[in-house]
Symmetry: C2
């Protein structure tokens, strides 16, 4: 059932409960307006140092909201007691850098050495963009956001390396500066854009063929605006051939109990942008 087909429960706990019952399995763009959403990556403890350092060295793409203790699947600061094993609509399971499965829960895959990381997500500021009168094309069309691997390298850390991944929203040229300003206030949700204009400059060949999510049309007078994206860790898992990892499926996020503007208060690594 896609969230566009019929009314869904609106509060984060209710939506997460519906997700855990597999009543919602689609992407989460436009779900729970105003609430912060989060990227997920789960790694064996053996890879946890590399990833935590990778996140710190790539703050724009990987703003670290919460890190759980090894073996603990229950969030604390982002949502009290939510079980990360079934409160996201879809997951990706990676073995030796290969995507092997996209299940709707990961209860059967849980291990005591798994460490879960929640990272900020740009869906958190889509409502603020819309409220400021800026277009949010994927929301307007009920689609997932388009995401692309770039030719910009993320800063490596330990055994992890890979490209920066970005999400894209078309903006009228005269509103690009305002898009910077509005999103810039959400430092724990990727903050201001990393690029706008010519996609080729950051190695994107074809906007109509995103590597993740769904394409959206550009209107006359619009330019593509690119934000660092929390799928960057997935590209690193693939590029670095990590033995085992679980992530959210792109666009299928963890919905937190925090309003987007409250993120900084509870974030593990909160900073002024």
């Amino acid at each position: 059932m896609s969230p566009q087909q019929e009314p869904v429960p609106s509060g984060p706990p209710e939506v997460r409960a519906a997700i855990s019952r597999e009543e919602i399995t689609g992407h989460t763009a436009a779900l729970c307006p105003g609430y912060a959403q989060a990227n997920l990556i789960i790694l064996p403890r053996e890879w946890a140092f590399d990833f935590l350092l990778f996140g710190l060295r790539n703050r724009r793409a990987c703003p670290i909201l919460e890190v759980l203790e090894p073996g603990d699947p229950l969030t604390q600061s982002m949502a009290h007691g939510a079980d990360l094993r079934d409160t996201l609509p879809r997951y990706r399971v990676w073995r030796h850098g290969e995507l092997v499965e996209e299940p709707t829960h990961i209860r059967h895959l849980w291990r005591e050495d798994l460490v879960s990381f929640l990272l900020g997500c740009s869906f958190s500021f889509d409502d603020a963009l819309a409220a400021a009168g800026l277009p949010v094309r994927h929301q307007e069309l009920g689609r997932n956001v388009p995401m692309y691997r770039t030719n910009l390298p993320a800063a490596p850390a330990g055994r992890l390396q890979g490209p920066l991944v970005v999400s894209m929203r078309p903006m009228p040229a005269e509103l690009v500066e305002q898009a910077h300003r509005v999103s810039g206030a959400f430092g724990e949700a990727h903050g201001e854009p990393v690029h706008f204009g010519d996609p080729g400059e950051i190695g994107i060949q074809d906007l109509d063929s995103p590597h993740y999510g769904e394409a959206v049309p550009m209107h006359p007078g619009e330019v593509p605006v690119f934000w660092a994206c929390g799928v960057t860790p997935q590209a690193a898992v693939a590029a670095s051939q990590v033995e085992f990892a679980i992530t959210h499926a792109p666009g299928h996020m963890f919905i937190t109990d925090l309003k987007a503007e409250e993120l900084a208060r509870e974030s593990l690594v909160s900073c002024a942008v």
Copy 2:
């Protein structure tokens, strides 16, 4: 040779070179005025995730300036190419949580799995306190700063737990607020105090018997002011019986090439206070 006995070279690279030749083996308080100093902790990769998370969860005590790759002893952002194995005047070697050795270099102990962390140090703002007309008693007396274990628990992370350690500077009661303001600008060097007044409130029984460093006298009308201290990781190593760790000896810091006010620019985890 203590730094008080005769003139020493004044620039950080020259002072570090003198330290590596063991011409300076005393504490580093008052060395290289205006330059940021740093706490050091070196752990096997097996403990690196626990510690990085411990640092993030205890930002006031453990502001993370730089994390080196496993096996790499050469700093990059805090001082280009300085070798952490002999550019601090004295180290502490810990085995199973016990202090076993205090050598002047650790070249013989280096291993390919060791991960080095540099953390901010309150010596970085002592010159700013003095420039603002505030007393810096330990500097006036050519002593190390007094440091104490408190009854305040640090936030645990993984297998690491222990008490918050604080440094103390006596301040005239009417200048405590100014001490807050001046040090508060140095968020990567512990920032503003965590406590002032009655030491018993944070579990310190006797100011004249610090757990680390040297006692300093209080003058009439002064109150003790306490800052979170980068010796906190050493107390955690002891309390958590970590198999192997190397730290700086308290007060015997790494002197960086950065001016204290430049720390935020290069810090791995820089934030507005």
